[in-house]
């Protein structure tokens, strides 16, 4: 045996890498869930927008984002590769369906994972691609001082003045008075023509409120979270097993932690669209 064999990635090394990237994603999921809870703050979006601004501009976050994206791609890629390698290991299938008691989450991991990938694309379309400016969003925000300073001398068109006046009238100014929020795409484009240097950011607080007041989008997201739950129910425990951290002493503890983690993440995610939806119904 030499190093060549190890470079070829044994079945265990493939699993180890898959679990490693999966673990990053597990940690990220918890972070994402906690961040989402800012949407529930009853401050018109101050906290969440500040958070989004930080996440959109901080250098370290940008690096972390790249790492995370890499984890996503590698996790999905490796899972696909493992699936591909496992194909054909049983050329003739059994006539009778298996009646062996197995961990269902693990058995369905590939299906739940594939489903997640599809749902993730829709989720990215709603939010992440808007952030990357690949897809046009419905709501934008901009720092007011930035765009006033960026074009102090030039005459501002009447259209832009109307947009700004209207935004102030509709109380679309953040509580610190520094940014305009909830600008529609048209308003944003008008302002952008007049203030080319101003940096517009997607307003995810209002985007989320917009999306989550439609019942079928809320339902889709709840299904999404359910599938996430199913997948991490497998992932959490499996990661420990793959890292060789399954031991008679604490395997029960890991199981319980996995269930708790799964529920916390799923409920944490689900509470945001549900609350926003119920609020919109009352309003």
């Amino acid at each position: 045996m030499n190093n060549e064999k190890i470079l070829k990635l044994s079945s265990i090394t493939k699993k180890l890498l898959l679990a490693l990237f999966g673990t990053f994603l597990l940690v990220f999921l918890l972070f994402h869930m906690v961040a989402n809870l800012f949407i529930l703050a009853d401050d018109g979006g101050d906290a969440y927008s500040a958070f989004c601004h930080f996440m959109g501009t901080n250098m370290f976050v940008k690096v972390a984002e790249l790492v995370l994206l890499g984890c996503f791609i590698l996790h999905i890629g490796l899972a696909g590769y493992l699936w591909f390698c496992n194909r054909g290991k049983r050329p003739v299938r059994y006539h009778q369906p298996s009646r062996t008691k197995t961990a269902k989450g693990s058995k369905l991991a590939m299906i739940s994972g594939s489903l997640l990938l599809v749902l993730l694309i829709f989720h990215f379309y709603d939010f992440y691609f808007v952030k990357l400016n690949v897809v046009k969003g419905g709501h934008y925000m901009v720092k007011t001082e930035e765009f006033v300073l960026s074009n102090p001398d030039q005459e501002v068109s009447e259209e832009a003045q109307i947009v700004v006046m209207k935004a102030i009238q509709d109380q679309k100014v953040s509580s610190d008075g520094q940014s305009l929020r909830d600008l529609s795409l048209e308003d944003k484009e008008i302002l952008q023509q007049n203030f080319p240097d101003a940096e517009f950011e997607p307003d995810f607080y209002n985007t989320a409120h917009d999306k989550f007041s439609v019942w079928h989008i809320v339902l889709c997201y709840l299904v999404f979270f359910f599938v996430v739950g199913l997948h991490i129910r497998h992932g959490f425990e499996s990661a420990f097993q793959t890292f060789g951290l399954n031991h008679y002493k604490y395997s029960r503890l890991i199981q319980i932690l996995g269930i708790i983690y799964c529920w916390i993440v799923c409920l944490g995610f689900a509470v945001v669209p549900l609350t926003v939806f119920i609020k919109s119904l009352i309003a």
Binding site: L16, K89, R93, Q96, P97, N246
Partner: protein, 254 residues
């Protein structure tokens, strides 16, 4: 008891197989599954109906690991912790239809009917499932420096009889439980511990070469193992693998 049997018949490794239906009657509920097949074979020979059904068996008391049939969707039939020879007809209902299939895996090619070639397991053992350091003469049992619980865990893992039910049950036809048990029981004892890293490297690489799939943690193997080998052995193998990935700095053998 009367049964309708659907049995996989296949002339040889290359021939195309198919299910053949047979009926057996007046089977005692105390009859073992293999004895029931013996009765069927006697019937087939006496009545000159067909070539008797080939199946592997030897000790018929659950310790040799020769028998192994996929019965109604479960390796070794619908009971836990037993081999096929320990399955009794009282576990079935009178008039049941029973589907009998061989182990299905790329690494276990069919020889004839229900007999599969499990020499892939032997090849994995040959790759590293042994101790090559000299350990001297047979020591008194109480002079070996091994804690009781380690000895117990090693013994539990060493119970593996290599029947192949883990591979048969796994949706990826993976042999991780078998290799895990072999790696674990040697790694836990002082005589085997010194070569543990080299061993896991050799055995896992050989397992991959032989066409077994990789593990996706469904634990079907653990559920079907007649010796109830635990998944913790797979974790121990993973642990040994990680150790050899990072710490395996032995001088290569000359």
């Amino acid at each position: 008891m009367n049964f309708t049997l659907h049995i996989w018949r296949q002339e040889n490794a290359t021939a195309e197989g198919h299910f053949e239906t047979y009926k057996v009657s007046d089977i005692s509920p105390d009859c073992s599954f293999l004895e029931m097949l013996d009765i069927l074979n006697e019937q087939l020979i006496n009545d000159k109906i067909a070539h008797p059904v080939c199946f592997d068996n030897d000790c018929r008391e659950g310790i040799c690991g020769m028998c192994g049939l996929y019965i109604n969707g479960r390796p070794h039939g619908n009971d836990d912790g037993i081999t096929t020879c320990q399955l009794h007809m009282r576990k079935f209902h009178d008039g049941d239809e029973i589907w009998i299939e061989p182990w299905r895996a790329k690494a276990f090619p069919i020889i004839r009917d229900l007999v599969v070639d499990r020499s892939a397991f032997d090849k994995i053992i040959q790759a590293g499932g042994y101790i090559s350091v000299t350990t001297g003469g047979v020591p008194d049992a109480n002079t070996i420096p091994v804690p009781k619980r380690f000895a117990d865990m090693a013994m539990d893992a060493a119970e593996c009889i290599g029947c192949g039910a883990c591979v048969a049950a796994c949706k990826n036809a993976s042999a991780m439980l078998f290799v895990g048990a072999k790696v674990a029981h040697l790694a836990m004892l002082p005589q085997g511990h010194v070569e543990a890293q080299e061993r896991v490297k050799k055995m896992v690489c050989r397992m991959d070469e032989l066409g077994f799939g990789s593990c996706t943690n469904t634990y079907a193997c653990e559920a079907e193992c007649p010796k109830q080998i635990k998944r913790q052995n797979i974790a121990r193998m993973n642990r040994e693998w990680i150790k050899q990935l990072f710490a395996g700095n032995h001088k290569p053998a000359e």
